[in-house]
């Protein structure tokens, strides 16, 4: 068996140098996707037209491969709108991952909103709280608690999908690993090193998620 363990561990620090770009893509996408997902979730509960637009959006972005979406955004759209030629691939990846993940988050948030008993908002309003205060202080924490497990999964999926940036020519974790692999011809070690770094990042995120779940779940323990 031909496996160079020492090479693999030596490679990790070199690959880690590209972690910031992966984190930038993932972090920015998480923020944009969450805001867009919330907007879509509210649209799903809105009037007929808003609901229709949101459903169409969700259907398209859930029903087509994320890689195809990235290719449309980065290579296709500038053909229609030449001004987009100046947009760098990192921005295109952030846009694509955000648009895609938002479609899934919208359904998760909608279910989260629906899962809170109507009596909660009624009690808040009947006690004289304004609607925004009732939403922020009473509904939002309960929605978060219900939505966090599924949302955490989506965030982890998004971090892994950030490796697709490689296809648009962004040098991030995966492409750094591929460069090393091609140079050394030690493919197994290089790609395993890449996998370990992704695993480390998603493991830390899972820990954070579990802590948040414990914290928000405290009021519900009998």
């Amino acid at each position: 068996m031909n496996f160079d363990l020492i090479y693999m561990f030596k490679l990790i620090p070199a690959i880690l140098g590209y972690l910031p770009i992966t984190l930038l893509i993932s972090g920015a996408s998480i923020i944009v996707a969450t805001l867009l997902g919330l907007l879509l979730a509210l649209m799903l509960r809105g009037g007929k037209l808003l609901r229709g637009v949101a459903r169409l959006y969700i259907s398209f972005f859930r029903g087509t491969p994320v890689l195809v979406q990235l290719l449309i955004i980065y290579f296709g759209l500038p053909q229609l709108f030449p001004v987009l030629n100046s947009v760098g691939p990192v921005y295109a990846v952030i846009a694509g991952l955000s648009f895609n993940t938002a479609a899934y988050l919208a359904e998760i948030f909608r279910a989260g909103i629906d899962s809170v008993d109507r009596g909660q908002i009624e009690a808040a309003l009947a006690s004289g709280l304004s609607l925004p205060v009732a939403c922020w202080r009473i509904l939002f924490p309960q929605i978060c608690r219900n939505a966090i497990p599924a949302t955490g999964n989506m965030y982890i999926g998004l971090i892994k999908n950030s490796s697709l940036a490689f296809t648009l020519g962004v040098t991030e974790l995966l492409s750094a690993g591929k460069l090393e692999a091609t140079a050394s011809l030690k493919f197994f070690e290089a790609y395993t090193a890449v996998a370990l770094v992704y695993w480390g990042v998603t493991f830390l995120l899972s820990l954070l998620q579990r802590q948040l779940e414990t914290h928000l779940g405290k009021p519900y323990q009998q």
Partner: protein, 250 residues
């Protein structure tokens, strides 16, 4: 004027849900410090009526006033809704405690954000009201840790703490087992003696008779009889009420 003195004045309110007439041109007055119970068969519109008083249900037409706040259902502004709601507080059948807040926080939350009290003052007042309902030792318990009866006590403390002009109670004991029910009924009976205007929707006929100044009997979205409890329950006001009262084994 009679209407000027009344605490609650309801004039000609109607409400329909998808063609079902839940409230049909209802008018009544409730005097300050009066205790009224609304009784009647299920689906007669009792809860809907109560919930129009704080506009959790917005009537299609008619006028409502509580204290010096009033609203015309056909020309409603958000500010008027908030003003009218500030005149009353509500106790719910399913307690509706904020599930993410402790017993004490359930009260401080409404004191801070509805009554605009400072955090410290709200905390102290919340404890005082929990004490009043005998639950000061449960201040830091979350609703999930409390029994139904305890949750309803917190719900009552929350409603009292707002010191409203009117307290609305929507079947406050319907979700409780008999033992807990007795405790809550006793607590409500005590509150009823404390110079507060109370409107209660209930199926507890004996209780309603004991504590109420007046009973409203509802059927098919209308108040078909109102008067002193004995007048309604024993008086000759119609066979339908007799049948209903007999069902509840008075």
């Amino acid at each position: 004027m009679y209407a000027d003195k009344s605490m609650i004045n309801v004039s000609g309110i109607s409400k329909s849900f998808r063609g079902f007439q839940a409230l049909d041109n209802i008018s009544f007055d409730v005097q300050p410090r009066e205790v009224v119970s609304i009784i009647g068969p299920s689906g007669s519109g009792k809860s809907t009526l109560l919930r129009t008083l704080n506009l959790l249900v917005l009537p299609d037409s008619g006028k409502i006033s509580i204290g010096n706040a009033s609203i015309d259902a056909q020309h409603v502004q958000r500010k008027q809704i908030n003003t009218l709601r500030s005149k009353s507080s509500m106790v719910f059948q399913h307690y509706n405690l904020f599930r993410n807040k402790t017993a004490q926080e359930n009260i401080t939350e409404v004191l801070r954000f509805a009554k605009k009290l400072g955090r410290k003052e709200a905390d102290e007042k919340a404890l005082e009201y929990l004490h009043r309902v005998g639950l000061h030792d449960k201040a830091s318990s979350y609703p999930a840790m409390l029994s139904g009866g305890q949750q309803q006590r917190v719900g009552i403390a929350r409603a009292l703490s707002l010191e409203p002009e009117v307290i609305l109670m929507d079947e406050p004991t319907s979700s409780l087992d008999p033992e807990m029910r007795r405790g809550i009924l006793k607590l409500i009976a005590e509150i009823a003696t404390q110079n507060i205007t109370l409107a209660i929707v209930t199926h507890e006929m004996n209780f309603a008779r004991e504590i109420s100044d007046r009973l409203f009997f509802m059927e098919q979205g209308r108040i078909i009889a109102q008067g002193a409890p004995d007048e309604i329950i024993q008086g000759d006001v119609g066979s339908r009420i007799d049948a209903f009262v007999n069902d509840y084994e008075i």
